[in-house]
């Protein structure tokens, strides 16, 4: 039987042409679906193949960079070199290779140098920075900073801040208030690291909130960056219209034990925002400002629950024993479990009069209150 491909296609075409409409639609649908699936698989395969090729190229280039760095920077002892930067100058010549003339090659080199810079400090770290400058990789970073894509900007900011390359305020300050969260955070981190005189200037402009995670990151950077100029945080506590900035400043006041900011914190006790008020009370308690105890007790009854809890905690932290009777009353008479718990904890933290009182309370309290006291006296339990 003579059956060619043409005949086969022709028969399929006639089958399709004279088939009912619903079958025709179904056949077209199946054909399109199969074609798209095949295209998708092909595209995934192609992307993976190119990815693996790129990874191999990067690995090979990283090995080359490692060899060059070991040979020209790590093998030298920068501590003994007379002129700073001499090692980097010699190394820069070795890096004049065709691989580093392409953009991707230069990016791999930047990433590798950053990695080395983040792992070593002292003279050797400075040599790596000088090498970055001598190879004019900072120009690549600045080019990225001008890009329209936020992820490239973030990358550039990380590179420049890690290499401690100054960026003009007019470029970086607007980014600290960007609507993009990642870019905003990266710009703020970079600004703190790079600004020598006023690392917290962006607080003046911040209208976007400092999210809790941003605060954690900022706190880490502030506390680990060396030679950072610490301003008086009272200026933002008093004048900032951004509540998250005030809240963060209160935490910094505690961290730096900044007593000169206390008058500004005290003014916050009169603010209408109960969350900020609670944070101000928390700050005063942690700073152990004994003078504020009377005022805290005075305003206690007019406060919402979170502020009342902070007042009880603050009295315990200050621990002067002046308001033991107040704490006892709260522990005995309050109907709220949280208040009784914190009053008990603060009683256990006070000076000897409180300790004597605890013995008495253990004998006279209800079983539930005794349980609370026992719980609070356990030194392993902190709240």
């Amino acid at each position: 039987m003579n059956f060619s491909l043409l005949d086969f296609l022709e028969s399929i075409f006639f089958e399709f042409r004279y088939a009912p409409l619903i079958i025709q639609v179904a056949i077209i649908f199946v054909f399109v679906a199969v074609t798209l699936t095949l295209l998708a698989y092909f595209s995934i395969l192609r992307r993976r193949f190119r990815g693996s090729q790129r990874d191999k190229k990067i690995t090979r280039l990283n090995e080359l960079i490692d060899d060059l760095l070991i040979e020209n920077v790590l093998s030298q002892d920068p501590e003994t070199v007379e002129t700073p930067g001499q090692t980097a100058e010699t190394a820069a010549e070795a890096f004049h290779l065709p691989q580093f003339s392409k953009r991707w090659g230069r990016q791999v080199l930047i990433d590798r140098l950053l990695n080395y810079r983040n792992n070593v400090r002292g003279a050797m770290g400075d040599e790596i920075r000088t090498l970055y400058l001598l190879l004019e990789l900072d120009k690549d970073s600045f080019k990225k900073l001008k890009s329209r894509k936020w992820n490239r900007k973030v990358r550039a900011l990380n590179e420049l801040s890690s290499m401690e390359i100054g960026v003009a305020d007019v470029i970086i300050l607007p980014l600290t208030n960007s609507r993009n969260r990642e870019l905003r955070a990266a710009a703020r981190h970079a600004y703190i690291k790079l600004s020598k005189n006023e690392p917290f200037k962006f607080f003046d402009l911040a209208t976007e909130p400092l999210l809790l995670w941003d605060q954690v990151e900022l706190f880490r950077i502030i506390t680990t960056t060396r030679h950072i100029a610490i301003p008086n945080f009272a200026q933002w506590i008093t004048y900032s219209s951004n509540k998250s900035v005030i809240s963060f400043c209160l935490k910094l006041v505690v961290h730096y034990n900044q007593l000169k900011a206390i008058p500004a914190v005290l003014k916050l006790l009169d603010t209408k925002d109960h969350l900020l008020r609670a944070e101000a009370i928390n700050c005063l308690g942690k700073m152990k400002i004994a003078d504020v105890e009377d005022k805290l007790v005075y305003i206690y009854n007019n406060q919402p629950l979170n502020c009342q809890i902070e007042i009880l905690k603050a009295l315990g932290r200050i621990g002067s024993g002046k308001h033991t009777e107040f704490l006892r009353q709260e522990f005995m008479l309050s109907t709220d479990f949280e208040l009784r718990k914190h009053a008990a904890k603060s009683l256990t933290n006070t000076e000897p009069p409180g300790s004597e009182l605890i013995g008495e309370l253990m004998e006279t309290s209800t079983p539930e209150n005794q349980l609370i006291l026992k719980h609070c006296m356990n030194p392993l339990i902190k709240f």
Binding site: I70, L74, S75, N119, V120
Partner: protein, 126 residues
């Protein structure tokens, strides 16, 4: 020549430390995790003069390595230096409690690293 075991999973960090130590005429063996560390320790019968270990690592962290080394007869007096990121003061206390001899924060200062090693090995600076 003193022999040092470096336990570090970060490629760049291990390259740097290895190079600094080799430059200072130490013989360095490098492994990437706790599992490999115990294999080499067993194989060599604790044939090292000092261990430098990172804290955050896969399989077994630096603390686990330290406590296992300290519980083995050959490892009780073996000097151990812990290596970890900055801002981990609690870790320093934890490490010293477990019997670490010293603690180094990353990024490392080459001169400081060598000074601490020499002190633990009772060597004089050259």
């Amino acid at each position: 020549m003193s022999k040092i075991l470096l336990i570090e999973d970060d490629e760049v960090m291990s390259t740097i430390v290895k190079r600094i130590l080799q430059k200072a005429a130490y013989q360095v063996d490098h492994v990437r995790n706790g599992k490999e560390a115990f294999e080499i320790l067993e194989k060599t019968g604790f044939g090292f003069d000092l261990i430098i270990t990172d804290i955050m690592m896969p399989y077994a962290n630096g603390f686990e390595i330290l406590s296992r080394v300290r519980n083995l007869p050959g490892g009780r007096k073996l000097p151990v230096i812990l290596l970890s990121n900055a801002g981990v003061d609690d870790m320093i206390n934890e490490g010293l409690k477990l019997g670490a001899d010293d603690f180094l924060k990353k990024p490392v200062l080459p001169a400081e690293l060598l000074m601490r090693i020499r002190r633990l090995l009772n060597e004089e600076a050259t």
